[in-house]
């Protein structure tokens, strides 16, 4: 696939884009405090963003000169693979959990979150499901007690 061959080039282009974004933002700051000079708030970010652009440009040149594509590591994401669902579930569920816990409460949200993740990671047999449900409940209650009573740290949705 062309995108596999060009992954290095795409990444290098993203790097240069990142450098440009930071340069544009820091250039405004540099101009606003130009009277202070290089020790002003804009000096260091401008220097870094220019350095990023230079390095990214060199990366583009190197990637263009390469004959082979970068070998993809064994943990690649294959769009046709069921593992992509598991991989996507981790960040999406974690974000949802953080916000939903405030509404439905820490205990319920955490038990559901843990159980769903354990199922996604392979606890699909009957016995495994029971272990997942029980362990989710126990861990949640231990955490709730430890954080709210012992350590007194706020939990999402617990205060």
């Amino acid at each position: 696939m062309w995108w596999r061959r060009s992954s290095g080039l795409i990444t290098s282009c993203l790097c240069i884009l990142l450098g440009i974004v930071f340069f544009v933002e820091s250039w405004g700051l540099w101009r606003r405090y130009l009277h202070i000079g290089v020790v002003g708030p804009g000096g260091w970010p401008v220097f870094l963003s220019i350095l990023m652009i230079v390095i990214a440009t060199r990366l583009i040149v190197l990637e263009s000169l390469k004959r082979k594509a970068i070998p993809i590591p064994s943990y690649r994401i294959n769009i046709h693979d069921i593992r992509i669902i598991r991989w996507l579930l981790v960040p999406c569920l974690s974000v949802a959990y953080t916000f939903i816990a405030r509404d439905i409460g820490f205990v319920i949200a955490t038990i559901v979150y843990l159980a769903v993740l354990m199922m996604a990671f392979g606890a699909t047999k009957k016995m495994s499901l029971v272990i997942a449900a029980v362990s989710s409940t126990i861990v949640t209650l231990i955490l709730y007690f430890a954080f709210t009573t012992v350590v007194r740290i706020p939990l999402p949705g617990a205060w």
Binding site: I36, R83, L155
Partner: protein, 496 residues
């Protein structure tokens, strides 16, 4: 010293409180994102009714044992509980994957204890004289020392130099987001109020290590319902003492850690990287580093623990806390009516003796606590990944959320996890990114201070700074080029 000893040991129940403090510190140190400062702050009101000496002993116990706890999570889970344990993951986690978690934990515990004890010896013998030398360090010298940590970490990380440099620059510029340290103006916030607090280190660290590990696991082919069986040798904690070369590593790492710890603003992460980097080059087993070599655990853990007595000494002599943990200790002094400043040791010289005894006791009890619980920890890691890693991810989220009680920190952690995942796939190591974020503020602050105070050419009139800089260039060249770092790494060497 004898009087202090008698005062400290005058109360038998103190030993019970030390044990409680050690387990408390280890528990908190193990949890990602919480940190030893919180453990100490929570304990302080409870200890206020004790005698001063006993309060200091318990606080130092928590301070020391938290590092032990953090090394446990670094070895078992590949998530450094604190920044200074980052390097321990390079070899500690591969050892866990090979079923040698017990050996790694034993090596970490013993080398931490040895590092603490030897550093305490240095504290008493050369400490005050060395601090007088360090007081001559200005922004130029501190700038070069911070550069040391950065360059060694870049040399140690896998991948091409150019990609590592980009990752470090990215780390630097992410650290710039927020309020400017000198002028107090918003910087790189892109008009967002949420970015005014900047990109804090802890969520980024948890994302880069914790969330990344879960994402990698989720995308991997491994069966998550099986676990690696762990073999814990008998007397595992003493095995590391049998090798003569390991003693050499521990002694040199202690000196390195103490020397760097006394310098304000550098931190354990610099010491552990420099120690690891040096032995990765000179060790007879250098090709095994990064693949589960016990020396790769001993060197950084010794240096990491040797930093603490040095950092404490600087805080006491300068009166300026070098870390948040020191703020809690100075707060304890305040409660007991002691002057917090350079005159503290002048009017209360026994404080240094109390600190010395505290570190020795804390190191010993933390060693015993780790030894007695190694079997339990290895059993925990034998839990199938399908059950264990969702719990670890939950701890990461809760730990991240608890920093500012702000869900944005969780989003930052997840964002960094995704960044680390895609970066690693494309050859960008995570380590320079982390080091850039950790050392960027120090490097920038010292550089700008130096330029504000004197013209740029004044750097060449600073003999200490120039000497350190020349040594840095030579070491970096040797590390990166002459001893064929790249070739060793490309064979499948150091993990990133």
């Amino acid at each position: 010293m004898t009087e202090t000893f008698v005062t400290v040991f005058g109360s038998p129940e103190l030993f019970l409180w030390i044990i409680v403090g050690v387990f408390w510190g280890m528990f908190i140190g193990f949890l990602p994102g919480i940190g030893s400062s919180l453990a100490m702050a929570v304990a302080l009101p409870v200890l206020a009714g004790f005698a001063l000496e006993q309060t200091i002993v318990v606080l130092i116990s928590i301070y020391t044992s938290a590092v032990f706890g953090a090394s446990i999570s670094a070895i078992l889970l590949n998530i450094p509980g604190m920044g200074g344990n980052l390097v321990t993951t390079f070899d500690g986690y591969p050892m866990t994957q090979q079923g040698k978690a017990g050996e790694a934990l034993g090596a970490a515990a013993m080398s931490s204890f040895i590092g603490t004890v030897l550093a305490c010896g240095l504290l008493l013998v050369v400490g005050p004289s060395y601090v007088k030398f360090v007081l001559r360090f200005g922004p130029h010298e501190l700038f070069v020392v911070a550069l040391w940590g950065l360059c060694i970490s870049i040399a140690c990380a896998p991948g091409s130099l150019i990609k590592k440099s980009f990752a470090a620059c990215l780390g630097f510029i992410l650290a710039c987001i927020g309020i400017d340290i000198l002028y107090g103006v918003p910087r790189l916030t892109f008009g967002s109020d949420r970015l005014l607090i900047g990109v804090t280190m802890i969520p980024a660290l948890i994302g880069i290590f914790g969330v990344y590990a879960v994402l990698k696991l989720a995308a991997g082919e491994k069966d998550l319902m099986t676990a690696v069986k762990q073999k814990t040798p008998k007397l595992t904690i003493l095995r590391v003492l049998r090798r003569g070369w390991t003693w050499v590593i521990m002694m040199i790492s202690t000196v390195l850690g103490f020397v760097i710890g006394v310098i304000p603003g550098t931190g354990a992460i610099v010491a552990s990287f420099i120690s690891y980097g040096i032995f990765r080059k000179v060790s007879p087993k250098r090709e095994e580093y990064g693949k589960g070599c016990v020396e790769g655990v001993v060197a950084p853990e010794t240096a990491n623990n040797a930093v603490r007595p040095g950092a404490t000494l600087t805080t006491l002599i300068l009166g300026i806390p070098g870390a948040v943990e020191m703020v809690v200790i100075l707060a304890a002094f305040n409660i007991y009516g002691l002057p917090c400043g350079p005159t503290l040791l002048l009017y209360h010289p026994e404080i240094l003796e109390i600190i010395f005894i505290s570190f020795m006791l804390a190191g010993f009890f933390a060693l015993v606590a780790t030894w007695t619980t190694i079997w339990g920890w290895t059993k925990v890691i034998e839990t199938p990944a399908a059950y264990l890693w969702p719990i670890i991810l939950l701890l990461c989220i809760v730990g991240t959320y608890s920093i500012h009680n702000n869900p944005t920190d969780v989003l930052v952690a997840i964002g960094f996890g995704l960044l680390a995942f895609f970066g690693e796939r494309n050859g960008f190591s995570r380590i320079p990114l982390v080091m850039g974020m950790a050392l960027g503020p120090i490097i920038e602050a010292q550089l700008r201070s130096a330029l504000l105070l004197e013209p740029p050419q004044a750097f060449f009139a600073k003999p200490i700074a120039v000497t350190l800089f020349i040594l840095l260039i030579v070491m970096f060249y040797v590390f990166e080029r002459v001893l064929t770092t790249r070739k060793i790494v490309e064979k499948g060497g150091v993990r990133g």
